[in-house]
Structures are given as structure tokens and as C-alpha cells.
């Protein structure tokens, strides 16, 4: 699987230039305006784009067909795509944390600013990957729909963290939970969605013909 990840990272390096310009510009803007959320949103959007880009390139150069002739199983190929998505998400999270700490933020601010978008990104990937593997370009059109779903999730989590009274909100009658629990719970659910998505993708890919 290392070779597959290396391939995706090397491919990503080629097109990262334009993204880096955006990230640097928005980071500078965030830095001087003291609002890390702006750069975080851009970084996380890039994070969502990159795994999809690798799938597009695989199709464009017919690597998706060629890789099946190499000593890697279909399951390993799919696993590498999800691991790549998680690695990029982790990198985006680290970037945001560094940016926030640099601006004097704390852990709670990092969670509030960053996790909703990360969760939205993971949910988009979880929903879109099986569709792209199943329908190719047509499946890609659904990303727009899934981004809408993710946007809704981000919005709801944003409202929860913004108006949750700082530390505590009521999620159901008589039950009080902290916003951290909501966010971490949502993160766990998104990871679970990613796991289910991986299983579905494996099944789709096992049957896929080229």
C-alpha cells in the first residue's frame, strides 16, 4: 500500500502549486486579521479536493486499470484511497492548529473552528467515493449534492458551537452535554461513515470491470 500512497502523494505534489498560493494568501489574511477560520476553510476545502483529484487522475491516465495488473489487491487499492483522505485531513487539522496556536488560540477554539469543516469533508468523501467508483464522471456530479449535505452539517455544528452557551447545550430534554462531546461525537460518526463507505467501496470495486 505504501507504493499506492506514494503515487498519490507524488501526483498531488504536481498540482499543489495553485492550492499553495491560495493557502498562503488566505493564511496571511487570517494572520493579519486574527481570524484563523478563513485559512482553515480554504485548507479544508483543498483537503476535500485532493482525494477526489487523485481519483480523476487515475481515470484520466488509466492507472485505475493498470494498477490491477500490479501485485496489489482491489481491497488494498481502495484502502489506500481512504488512508490518503485521512492523511490529508490530518495534515489540514495540524495546519489549522498551528495557525490557531500562532494567533494565540487554545484547544477549544481549534476544535470549534476546525472540526465542523473536517467532519463535513469526511462526510462528503464517505458519500462521494462509492458513487465515483460506481459511476465515474456521473458520480462526480453528486459531489455537489454531498457538499450541500456537508455544508448543512458544518452549519448545524457551527450553530451548536456558537450558540451552545459556551460549554453546555441541551440536545434532548433533561440531558446536558458539552459542545466538545457534540463535536467529538460528530467526528466519530463521520469516521464511522467513512468506515461503512470503505466497505461499500470495496464491494463495488470487487465487481467493477474495465
Amino acid at each position: 500500500m505504501r507504493g499506492l500512497l506514494r503515487k498519490d502523494i507524488l501526483m498531488m505534489k504536481d498540482g499543489i502549486g495553485i492550492y499553495l498560493i491560495f493557502i498562503i494568501l488566505y493564511s496571511l489574511f487570517s494572520f493579519f486579521s486574527g481570524a484563523p477560520d478563513i485559512a482553515a476553510t480554504i485548507v479544508i476545502l483543498v483537503m476535500i479536493m485532493l482525494p477526489f483529484n487523485t481519483l480523476s487522475y487515475d481515470e484520466l491516465y488509466q492507472w485505475d486499470r493498470y494498477v490491477l495488473t500490479l501485485p496489489v489487491s482491489r481491497r488494498q487499492i481502495i484502502r489506500s484511497k481512504y488512508v490518503f483522505a485521512l492523511l490529508v485531513s490530518g495534515a489540514a487539522l495540524l495546519f489549522y492548529a498551528a495557525m490557531d496556536l500562532l494567533l494565540g488560540g487554545d484547544l477549544r477554539e481549534i476544535m470549534r473552528g476546525c472540526l465542523p469543516t473536517i467532519i463535513g469533508g469526511l462526510v462528503t468523501i464517505a458519500l462521494a467515493f462509492p458513487c465515483i467508483l460506481k459511476w465515474g464522471q456521473k458520480g462526480r456530479l453528486l459531489i455537489v449534492l454531498f457538499c450541500g449535505v456537508a455544508g448543512g452539517i458544518i452549519g448545524v455544528l457551527g450553530i451548536v458551537t456558537e450558540y451552545g452557551g459556551g460549554l453546555e447545550i441541551a440536545v434532548s430534554e433533561g440531558v446536558m452535554v458539552t459542545e466538545s462531546v457534540v463535536l467529538l461525537g460528530a467526528l466519530l460518526i463521520s469516521l464511522l461513515a467513512l468506515l461503512i463507505s470503505y466497505k461499500i467501496s470495496c464491494k463495488i470495486y470487487e465487481k467493477k470491470q474495465f
Binding site: G15, Q62, P71, Q209
Partner: protein, 282 residues
């Protein structure tokens, strides 16, 4: 005799095309050429062998393992070239080497760099800057750098100039110095196959029309050129296909069954393919 690959009564149905009852075997130590017009089913057979397509019947074994069963060990021993595409074109040769080093346990960087140097491929340029011939050479260098025993080549010499094609054919013959090795070559450049193949299988509209040793094929069959009257003198069973044109006719005949006095020419794989494709039975 051990086979590098074997297909028995293989079928594959598509909406507008059916591959019917394909039986083929490639013994180790041989080169099998798969000829046929575009859309005849050559690439479908190769995709079935590589498990890129799933068959609708029959058995397929590659290096003794069913094609539909994934085996990393088997795939280590197969080198595949499918036209010039497959490798991401934003990579350069060094990056390809690093990726393949991770993927193949038997990857041999020295062999890879010696082949790419022999082919004159620049190390630092991206693949997208390569010509078609260079991309093909790179694919072939990859296929030959992990101690493969079986090469599967789908239109590997298509669109290349005669010098490059000749160079690659020499390389394939070098690969065949080891008698455990085998090559399956699908192409419609029949002259290339005529140079290197031991066996020829001709596919037409999803069926195997001919499957025999190349030398035997070219010796047993002959091209007769003449008139309708002269053709009538040849036993009916000896005539396989006839092509009529403005100035007479040509027939593909069984050499041994035709009277010695008849003017016969040695066929080429291309002429045989044209007879089966364009000719009529009588």
C-alpha cells in the same frame, strides 16, 4: 508441457458483442500472437486474462492460477503493457522507480535504469513530455524490471516508427532467451507478429478462426491468383476463402491439396487476415 496461460471455452457477453467459446493455450518458451481487426475481441481476451473483465463462462488460468483469483505472487511475475497509458504522466522516471520499488518485491532498479538508459529516456522529465514511443518504452521497461515470466502486450508497438518497433521486438526476443518465459502479443500490425511469434491465433467477430504454429500456417496455406475457370479446377475443400476484384480473383487455399502446377504465393498474416475478413467461402 506447462502453460503460461490457458483459456478453455471462455465466453463474454456484451450488449453488441459476444466473445464465443475461446480456447487458447500459451506454453512456456513461446510467443503467441493474437491478430484480428479492431473490435474482434483481442483486448477483451487480454482484459479477461488480467481480471479487468469477468468472464461469463469457461476457465482462465494465468501462470497456473485462475485469473479471477487475486494473487500478488502471480502478478509479480506478469509484465503488462497496454498501449502507452497507465502511468500518471505528471511523474518522472525516478518517481516511477520509487513507486514500483514499493509495489514489487522483486523490483530491480538496476535493470530499470539500464533499460531506460538504453532507450534514451530522460530521468527528470515528466512522462507527459515524452513522445508516444518513449512512453511505450517506459511501460516496457517497467514490465521487464521485476523478473516477470510472462509478458502480456496489448498493441504495444502500435503507432511507433519501424526503427523503434524493431528495437522493441529485439528486446522481446532477448526476454525469450529464458525458456520459462512466454509472451502474449495482441496487435493488428501483423508484420511485427510475423517476425517474432511462434504461434498465431486469429480472432474474427469474437471467434477464433485460426490457431496454429506460425510457420505451419504460412507453409500450409497459399494464395492462389487467377480466374474463375482456374479456380474451378481446384478441389472445393482446398479453398478456404475467395476475394474477387476487378481484374480476377485471389483465393486462400490449402497448399497440399492444390495441383502443383497452379501458381501459388506464400501468404502473409495480413493477407490471411484480409481473406477471412473480406473474403467469401466460394
Amino acid at each position: 508441457m506447462t502453460y503460461a496461460l490457458e483459456l478453455q471455452h471462455v465466453k463474454k457477453n456484451f450488449e453488441h458483442f459476444t466473445l464465443q467459446d475461446i480456447s487458447l493455450a500459451l506454453p512456456r518458451g513461446y510467443i503467441l500472437g493474437l491478430i484480428g481487426e479492431n473490435g474482434a475481441g483481442k483486448s477483451t481476451i487480454i482484459k479477461l486474462l488480467l481480471n479487468l473483465l469477468h468472464s461469463d463462462g469457461g476457465q482462465i488460468e494465468v501462470l497456473g492460477i485462475p485469473a479471477e483469483t487475486f494473487s500478488a505472487q502471480r502478478n509479480e511475475q506478469i509484465g503488462v503493457v497496454m498501449d502507452e497509458r497507465g502511468l500518471p504522466e505528471m511523474l518522472n522516471l525516478r518517481q516511477v522507480n520509487r513507486i514500483m520499488e514499493d509495489l514489487y518485491s522483486s523490483w530491480d532498479s538496476d535493470t530499470f535504469y539500464s533499460l531506460t538508459t538504453r532507450f534514451g529516456l530522460p530521468e527528470k522529465s515528466k512522462i507527459k513530455t515524452y513522445s508516444r514511443g518513449m512512453k511505450m518504452k517506459l511501460s516496457i521497461a517497467v514490465a521487464l524490471s521485476h523478473n516477470a515470466q510472462l509478458l502480456i502486450l496489448d498493441e504495444a508497438t502500435n503507432g511507433l516508427d519501424p526503427v523503434v518497433r524493431d528495437e522493441l521486438l529485439d528486446l522481446f526476443l532477448e526476454f525469450m532467451q529464458d525458456e520459462n518465459h512466454a509472451i502474449l502479443m495482441a496487435s493488428h500490425i501483423t508484420s511485427d507478429l510475423e517476425k517474432v511469434c511462434d504461434h498465431i491465433a486469429y480472432i474474427h467477430e469474437g471467434r477464433i478462426e485460426l490457431n496454429m504454429e506460425k510457420d505451419q500456417l504460412l507453409e500450409d496455406y497459399a494464395v492462389f491468383k487467377g480466374s474463375e475457370e482456374q479456380l474451378a479446377e481446384i478441389p472445393e475443400d482446398a479453398v478456404l476463402r475467395v476475394r474477387r476484384h476487378q481484374f480476377g480473383l485471389e483465393a486462400l487455399v490449402k497448399r497440399n491439396e492444390v495441383h502443383a502446377a497452379a501458381a501459388l504465393e506464400r501468404p502473409t498474416l495480413e493477407s490471411i487476415m484480409l481473406f477471412f475478413n473480406k473474403g467469401t467461402r466460394q
